[in-house]
Subunit: 180 residues, 3 copies
């Protein structure tokens, strides 16, 4: 591993640190095992109803499904994994619908679709190969920190499901929670 560059060395404003949780002190003391928060795992499969082609905010849907488990974690990670190769998960703006609409516009401009597109894989329709490409561009998985029983995201962040097919189907997600 190599470190740093001229840019990060010359930054003048100090880095500020706001919070820290650590539970390693009693690890080697058998008499205090009960005091060590034992890590918990939770895993749930969620099936989302079909959503039309485009980008959709699904934060509240996801949180509603995992809330009972989520609230038990003081510190941890939430992992969302989509079981599909023609849709994607991303984190982006949670307020203005136009941002989702413009993102769909971008994806359609950057990935050719239709008779002039160069794809060999066309058996499943003209929107299928573009959907596969968009799925790898944004990815099918997210990992989000958990703090004090909640997803620890920024004020303007939300979870998006991007549906890349014209005739959408239900979409399956595996949500795995891990923490203390």
């Amino acid at each position: 591993m190599q470190f740093c560059s001229s840019i990060c060395l010359t930054a003048k404003v100090p880095v500020r640190v706001q919070s820290l949780h650590m539970n390693s002190t009693t690890v080697n003391d058998p008499s205090s095992i009960a005091a060590v928060p034992v890590p918990k795992w939770s895993q749930k499969t969620i099936v989302l109803p079909p959503l039309k082609r485009g980008c959709h905010l699904i934060t509240s849907k996801i949180v509603k499904e995992i809330q009972p488990d989520l609230s038990a974690f003081q510190c941890g990670l939430a992992h969302l994994f989509l079981h599909h190769t023609s849709a994607s998960l991303t984190i982006n703006e949670n307020y203005d619908y136009d941002v989702r609409d413009d993102t769909e516009t971008f994806l359609n401009r950057i990935v050719p679709e239709g008779p002039s597109a160069p794809w060999k894989h066309t058996l499943e329709g003209p929107d299928d190969m573009p959907a596969h490409i968009k799925s790898s561009m944004f990815g099918c998985a997210l990992t989000i920190p958990i703090s004090t029983g909640k997803l620890n995201m920024g004020t303007w962040q939300g979870i998006w499901l991007c549906e890349h097919r014209d005739y959408p189907t239900a979409r399956t997600l595996v949500v795995t929670l891990n923490g203390i």
Copy 2:
């Protein structure tokens, strides 16, 4: 964190939940510590042989390497991390070779290469700077859920290694398994 949008509120089809694992009940009871599944960690460095420029399905190769450890996890996460900046890992279609070929076509169309490309970083060959860009587009890491001793992916999902250099070399991955 802010929740929801008009779209997810108006979805008519109920979300279906299929499975749930949780092991928090005995955490504060010292007499039952043996009943709490103690989290396990496994970490392995795998070196893949050189693969030609393009997208390659490597699911079986990866699973073969981690199988003995993987089968011991009832619930967890598998993390794959590529040690390189000119190749990438992604999850996409596992059946039709054309999908991988079309994805390589897309990457080559979207990232300029050759004399007319605008890159300043050209010392390592005309394919090097495009390779770095493609690496950040798809990313060098994947996290996949583990359920009952197996990678819990969708029917059509596979793990791809995308080699972005013309003269490929062996590629190193660190695979970390964590779970109960």
Copy 3:
């Protein structure tokens, strides 16, 4: 899950394995609980000073902040999560500044900006919608393996913060460490 393709089946060079850590042997033996490394969690919020539009190497800054905690982990994962939708995190080359500069050039060429751009979301300035798109292209999160107290990255890999706004602000990251 489906496995393999013609390509990975025909690879001639054997996969080499370099290291393995595993701690599952004593899990069901209550008398040996003290011998099982109890997983640790650490979570920290870091505020980075404003950085100008472009790609910046921040590895040393991040490592400096998490070093005291990081060194306590023999095996684990480090998760970095940016609290913003107009900047991104990625892993790429850590040596030549031109690689970062060329990546910024690529992002600006691929995402239209200015009067001719097709965006509806323009209230927050011409650079705002392009910034959201770039944020989803590279993503706002990274997961990196930890081995023997250090981030286990490749020789040429570094952590980049990509600032996509013209008038940057301080950026908040949540760093979560988990391991044994």
